[in-house]
Structures are given as C-alpha cells and as structure tokens.
Symmetry: D2
C-alpha cells in the first residue's frame, strides 16, 4: 500500500503544474503549491500516509459534510430536508442559484455555500459560538484528534473578504429561508471553514463515514447510520462542485473537496482517504488530488458502480 501511494504521488506530481492555488481569500494564496500528501485508512491495511500527509490546512468546503452531519444529528432528517434540498444545481459552489425566481429551499443544497450557511442555523446551541464549538467537537471526535483547531489567520481573512457569502446570507434572509442575524451565522460558517486538519484527520473522518458512523476499531456508533448514507449520497451527487459527474465516472466514490486543495473520499464499507495538494483546476478541485484518486480507484477497484 505504501509503495502504491508513493508511486501515485510520483506519477501525479506533474499535474500540480495544471492548477493554481486559490487566491480569492488572501490567506489561502499563501499555500505552497508543491505540497502533496495522501493518507488512506482501511481495516485490513490500517493507516498509510505518504508525502505531506501530516501538513495541516483549513477544511474550507470539506466542512460542509460536517455541518450537514451536525444538523442531521441535532435536528433530524425532516428538518434538514425542509431547510435545504439535495438536487445538484448545475451551478458553481458560490453561485446565486437562480434567476428572476423566488429562492426556495429546493434550489439550494448542503454542498453549496448558501445551503451550508443555512444549515448552521439548525445546529443546537444558545449562541453561534456554541454552535461552532459543537461543529469543532464533532470534527475532533470523528477524526479522533482533540488537537484540531481553528486557523485564526484564515478565519480573519475569510471574515474580512467574504462578501459573496454575506450576499448569499442576506438573500437567504430576504426570502425567509433563515431569520437569524446574518453576521452571527456567517461568523460560525467562516470559523467552520477555517478548521485546520491533516490528511490523516480527513482519512479518519472518511473512514467513519465509510463504516456508516461506526468506529470499526472501538465498535462505537458515533452517529446515526442513516445519516452516513444521507451524507455519502449527497457527496456523490454534489461533493466535487461542477466536476461531480466526471468524478463519479473516473473515481466512483463519494467525496468532498475544498478550495484549500483537500479532498476527503469515502469508499463505502472499505476505506477512508484524505488528500492534500493546493493547486486547483478550473472547477476548484485539487488537480493532483483528483488524478491520484483516479489511479487509486483503478488500482484498488474502489468504484462503487
């Protein structure tokens, strides 16, 4: 396994050249495009990490999976479905997902910004600080890593420049989809996007999702089995932005990417994968990361189709 991963890193390294580090948030622009790490976790093979698999980066959109899980656990499927739909939108992650029409819950989904922001309001907690703390705690618990924390610089950078997210949030308010204080909700969302993880953390979270919420080592059920199914299904149809359809063909497993360059991939019943390489393609997915998953999927026959 280790050898396979090393070969993949070597083979995919040139693909870094095809991409560019995200720059729309100033702090993200500081990422080193040459970093590249992979970590896989499976029952039979244990944990394998190569390259920069212990380097940390912020979750960005990957945290949408955690927000969705937190909301499902706190309020249940019915309330979540009532607030946000689940259809692919055919629009970029930060698109104003409509034209001329009233915005409705069915027009947004948990994997686009508007949907994830809306879901923050469903998390239990008196204050948005509490809600965020519940998100952070869940991330730590799933990753089995109590040291996971916020990247303050990225958080401040997101907060200072997140006007598109502000526009989306006020639009949600204008259409009565949420009624909370916009800056409070956004603060929770910006913090969530700034949670710092490594490939190991992502692989562990993915491994729990692959095992339907159960920690296969301890046997502990960390969350409701059917919420894992819910999340994996949403990741499959909408997890890779506008590249979700292509990814379903070439890799064939549920996954979520972020503009940080991370990808968390869930191989149901088999494996959790975390990848990091910050140079992105035009759709916002890690160039080398996607290529690596393609090879890994082909070599290990990971596709669920």
């Amino acid at each position: 396994m280790d050898k396979l991963l090393k070969n993949i890193i070597r083979e995919c390294y040139p693909y870094i050249q095809n991409g560019k580090v995200a720059t729309y948030i100033p702090e993200l622009a500081k990422a080193n495009p040459n970093e590249f790490g992979i970590c896989t976790i499976s029952i039979d093979q244990g944990t394998n990490g190569v390259g920069d698999y212990e380097k940390s980066f912020t979750m960005q959109s990957i945290v949408k999976a955690i927000i969705l899980l937190r909301a499902l656990e706190d309020k249940g499927e019915a309330e979540v479905r009532n607030l946000v739909g689940v259809e692919a939108t055919g629009k970029p992650f930060d698109a104003f997902n409509y034209s001329d029409q009233d915005l409705k819950s069915e027009h947004i989904n948990p994997m686009i910004n508007a949907g994830a922001i809306a879901l923050c309001t469903l998390i239990d907690g008196e204050t948005y600080r509490e809600k965020f703390q519940r998100l952070l705690d869940l991330t730590r618990k799933l990753a089995g890593n109590s040291n996971i924390n916020l990247d303050e610089d990225v958080y401040m950078s997101e907060k200072a420049t997140g006007n598109k997210n502000r526009a989306l949030t006020y639009m949600l308010k204008a259409y009565g989809i949420i009624n909370e204080d916009a800056e409070e909700v956004l603060d929770c969302y910006f913090r969530a996007c700034s949670i710092k993880v490594t490939c190991v953390d992502l692989a562990r979270i993915a491994f729990i999702l692959a095992n339907k919420g159960e920690n296969p080592i301890t046997g502990e059920q960390l969350f409701d089995k059917k919420h894992a199914t819910y999340i994996n299904a949403v990741l499959m149809t909408c997890g890779m932005y506008d590249g979700s359809g292509e990814f379903a063909i070439t890799v064939g497993v549920p996954a979520k990417s972020g503009v940080c360059g991370g990808i968390m991939a869930v191989v149901p019943n088999r494996m959790g994968i975390g990848i990091y390489s910050p140079a992105l393609d035009s759709k916002g997915n890690s160039c080398a990361g996607i290529k690596a998953l393609e090879i890994l999927s082909r070599e290990l026959e990971l596709s669920i189709f």
Copy 2:
C-alpha cells in the same frame, strides 16, 4: 385642464380595484389605496392639481432619478457610465441580475436597485450623511420646496427589512463594483427612498427635467442640460420596471414609478406630471396612475413618438 384632470380621476378611479398596496416594507402597507391625486405643470397652463395631489408619500424608486442626477452632476457622465450601464435588463427592479456569470457594471442600470445603490457611492461628500444631505438638497431645489423631508418611520422600516438590498450591496462589493462600507451606502439609499413628496413636488421636478434643467419661470439653469437628456432617455427605456415597453406605446413619455404608488412623468419641452395612487399592478406600477397617464397622453397628444 382642471376639468380634464377631474374627468380623468373619475374615469380611472375604478382601476384602483385592480391593484394592491405594496406590503414588502411594513410601513408602506399602511397606505390608503383610495388616495388618488394628479398635478400637472406647464408654461401655458401653469400648475393644476386635483384629488389628493397634496398628500405626501415617500419617493421610493422615483428617487433613483435624483440619485442619477446627483451622481452625474458630482462626477460627470464618464464616471457614472463606468460604474453602471444603461441597458434594460429584462428583469424585475430588485432582481439579482445575472446567473453564473460575473456581475459587471454593464449588467446593472441606474433604475434598478443595484445600480442606484452603486451610484450613491459617487455622490460628493465626506460621509454618507453628507451624501444623503446633497440628495435631499437637490430634491428640495428641483421641487422648489425646502420643507421636503424624510419619513422616519418608512426609513426605519426599510432599514429593518431591506435584506434583498443588503444582498445586492454585498454582491456589488463581492464583484469589486463598489468598495465602500455596505451599511453606510445602504443607509444613504434607504434614506433617499424615504424622502417624502407630494404630486406637486414630483410635477415640479419633472417640469425641470422637461425643460432640460432650466427653471422656465426664473430662467435659472439648475443643472447641466445634457444630464436632463441622459436621465429622460434612461427613464424612457427603464423607468417603469417591466412595464417600460408597454408604457412607451400607451403613454410615450419618460417616467419613473415607485412602489409607493407615485409616478413622475416628463413631457419634454412641455409639461411635468406628478401622480399618486398606491394600489399597484403586478409590475409594481400604480394601476390608476398608469391609466390616468394613458388618457392624459391621448387627450393632449403628449407622446413623443
């Protein structure tokens, strides 16, 4: 003239039944749908007012013409055109005027909310209070009425519920069209919309626009002649929301309506008209007001086509 106007009021009164008072801002919902007034001003006929022509109401979108004029006078045509386009958008006044594409200046125009909000940033003044004061002063000067003032209740109501305008403003910031503090700009815009006028005030402002910026009584040139042409042209193509095309055929003069139920109509070289009747059609224009202008245009051959 007085008799003609009285006949028109009588004939158009039933059209009030076809409309509804705007409710999206709570304070506007309090308007009395049965109020109906007209005032016309021309050199040969002087000032004629019938019905509720001295009742006051807030300008709402009608102030967009004043904002455009203030920006043109303060910064000139080039800078204004650089910030906002002039094409009809084919979209409702508060639409997010695009889909998937980057928002550009050419996608917004001064008669839709996003354009008018953007133009507030071009008004001279150290602070947004000063900018607003310049708008108010210009309105008073054009109407020859130093008593024109803010309706505080409507202003507070707009400010409290204007989330769609907030969303539009943050979108303008997200796309780099404006860089100012969103709440400051919005405060200026909400105040502008809440300026309280009567049909007489609107007719006087329209009369000055009809005379290319000159006060025909005093002979004083209140603003640049070519800015009158600019504004009248924009009112013709985009002044009546999605009803501008129809209005060009049936009435045939530049005009601007507001969700307050007011309409300001400019008959180039001839007449200024102010109308008020708060029951609106589905496009946001005063039902009885439009009908009254149709008859007035037909009787006096006002159409410029």
Copy 3:
C-alpha cells in the same frame, strides 16, 4: 446639410476599423466593410445623400419594423399584443429568451427574432408566399420604390444556415405560441430579411414613420397613425439590440439596425434617416453608423429627450 453629412462621413470613417462585417450568414460576409453612406429626408431640407447612399444591402433585422407594421395593419393592435409582448428582454436578438420557464408571449418582442417570426403568422394571405408579397409590397409603398426586391443569394444563404431561427420557431410551436408549419413561416421570414434596399429607401420609410404614416408630400395617409406611434415606441426601447439604452442617451431617436450594417432612424415630426456601413460592433450595430447618428443628433438637436 450636404456639407454636414460629408463632414460626418469623413469624421466617422475611422470608426469602421472598430467593427467587423457579420459572418454568421456566408453571403453577408462578402460585404465590403469600407462602404459608408447616409441619406436624410426632411420637409425643409428635402433629400440629402452622401457616400454610398445608393448602394443596396439586405434589410435583415430592419425588416422587423415592416413585419410589425404589416401585422398591426392586418390584424390590429389587440391581436398583435396578444401574440408578442413589448418589453425589452435584456437578451441578444437571437437569444433563447428564457430559462427553465415556459415560454410565454410576454417573453418575446417584435424586435427579437422569435417575435418577428411569430408575427409573420399574423400577416394576411392564404399562403406564406402571399404573406411575403404583402410585406414586400408594403416596403415598396413606404419607400416609394417599386424596384425593391429580394436578394436571392442572401435568401438562399439564410435558409441554408438559419438553424438558430429554426430552433426558435420550433420552440414557438412547442409552447403553442404558433401552430403553423415551421418551414413555411421561416421561409417568409428569411425572404423578408433578404429584401434589398438603399439608404434612400430606409430614409423614406423612416420619414413616413416620423410623419405618423402620412406621406408629407402627397398628404396620403399610408397607414394608421397610432401604428406609427406603436412602432416608434418599440424601436426606441428595443430597436438597437443590447445597445438600445446607450443609443437613447447618445442619439435619442427611435431606430432599427440590422446585421447588414444598415440603420433606419426616425426623428418624430422632423426627419427620416438611412445609414449603411457594414462593419459591426459587438452588439451587432454599425460602428460608423452609430457614430454618425451621434454627431448628426448633436449638431441638429434631434434627440426627443
């Protein structure tokens, strides 16, 4: 007048460089970009032509004004308004003017292709040959030129390559807006676009529209006065494609352009203008032609605003 026009031709000639001859119909691509002619007709100045004002070119979109007039005369305003709306669409002339929504009459207008095609069905005549003949006869009558005829090569070229218009026509059928045989309707439309005129012809047609349907020399009323108003109003709001708003400010008169490079401009109660220069700007309007109209409007104060 002659001298003014000659100066304008000289001053505007360099603007030809900014544009390109239309190529989407092979025959149009053969136009000579350096041709440039103007003709004006007014009561006090008579007919003045300079440059290539006697060169002939096909009407293309300019014929939409004739189609609209023919339909208005044959079926009346109510039936025309029932079939096509009059609002600016904010879309290019050949756009599929909607997204996700059912196509409705109010979404199309007589100055976009779909609207003009639909209006062909309203022309009197047993067959589409007869309908086209009525269009041709009307064009001849308005221009006072019985030699006006079809350009067979352009017509064949349009017919062979007009798949976007075919798509639009089948869409009109799919939504029940028209029920006629698509190829028959299209044949009439393609023929209409291929009617060959000169600047003099356009100026004469415009002059009749400017005089509300009356031939000012003979005193004969060629068509209903209110149909002239209808057409001039539609030309003002939608006649210059996506440049209609800008044109209203800089020139300020109703006008219709075509991808042939012709512009027909109507100065109500004063003048008819025909211009030809086939190099087009990005919006499909003649570069030198628009510039010439700007100067003419400024020099003669033609703007109706």
Copy 4:
C-alpha cells in the same frame, strides 16, 4: 422475495393517486394509471415478477442508457465525452440548458434530451435506420428478448408532436455540436424512445449493467466492463431527472426513469430491477415506482452508500 414484492405493491398502490399519466405525447395519455408491476433479477434469487410485470410500455428516457452504451461501444469514451458532458445540469430533462451563453458540449449530458439526441449521431451505421437498428438489436441482446419491437403508434405520436425536441436539435446544429440532418437524427431518437419493453426486459438489462456487462448465467461479456461503470455513474448523478439527489439518499442505486412510468434500477454486483407504474410525480418519475424502490432498498439494504 415474491412475498416481499407483493407486500410492496400493496403498500405502494395508494401512491398512484399522487401522480398523473404523462400527456404531452397524445399516445402516452392513453396509459392506464392503475397498472403497477415489478420484476427483480439476482443470482441467488433468480427472476421474481409481481403485478403487471409482463405488460409492455415504451422505454422513453430509459433508452438514453442504451443510446449512451451504443455510442460508447461504437466510438469509445473519448469521442463520447467530447460530444456530451456528464455534469448534472440542475435543469428539467427537456430544458434549453443555458441562457445567453453559447451552448457547449459540457452543458449537455447523456441523460437530458439534447445529449441523447446528439449521441445518436455517434452510433455506427450508414443511415439512421441502420443506427436505430443497432440500438434495437442491443436492447434485444441485453434483455435476451428478440421480440422487443417498436410501438408504431407512440413513434408516430412522438414524431408528430416533438417540437421541443426539434428545437433542441436545431439548437445543437446552430452551435455546431452536430452537423447531421435534423429530421434524420430525430427520427432515430423518436424510434428509440418508442421501443416497447416489459419490467422483465428492464430488469434483465439492469442486471447486465449490475454485472459490469457480463451475463452471469452464460458468463458472456456483452460489452466493455468500464462502459458499465460509466453508465452506472451517469445514472446515479442524473438518471432520475431533478429527483436524482433525493433518489440517491432514499434508494441509493443508479437508476433511469422515463415518462412512460418505467424505472430501471441497477444494484451493482447484486440485482437488476424493472418497475412500471405510469402515474408520474411533478419531476416526471413514477410515484408508486419510486416508493416501491425506497422500500425494496430499505428491506434488502440495497443502497451503495
């Protein structure tokens, strides 16, 4: 298994009331809404059919999976991907999938009409009759049923009323995506949609797709293994129209529905399912059919997530 299926039929029968038979093609409107059949095929359980599982109906959109397979087998993945994309469009199956923008291959996918029509051009064959014959032969081969044939009445009805598909086809031509004769291509597509199958046929086709192209009984590889993966992935992200996201959560297997009321569901490595019940929900999917698949998936744990 038989008992489970009978219980499901009983439990889901009332859901027929929630739907309506498709009426946009006159022949389809004649379907009996009360028909309801299911057939499942798996290695361990063999073939099980209950209710109207031997009633025949036309494939409609379900044939898109066969068209995609035929094109993949005839021209290979690269050529197919070059012609049509694979992303979910967020639009209805027959939507004009764009606004203002040029239509590009990446905007269409094989599960929407425009994509399937375009793919017909990639099928081998001198004439469109030959191409269609290859589609029919493939359907017969996959279903192991040489009696599968065209429903002439539905075909004639589709051809007579398919103006939206005509519009889509001319649009494909207008943007240079296809260059073939529109009516020839459409004839092939209309014929394909009119192929008549039963639940047993669909279950058999699905079973082959579930077994990656291998007939598990004979061991024969009917088509390239990686084309099965390709198709299953596309069905997962786009097979159930605008209900694909919801279906991924509640059922969790690749599937394709048609406006005939049929659904073909592929459970990778396990099972093929054919369902028929013509009363459709607002998204065009069989009401009772979807409910039946939800229960079947829950009872047999079919979800791949």
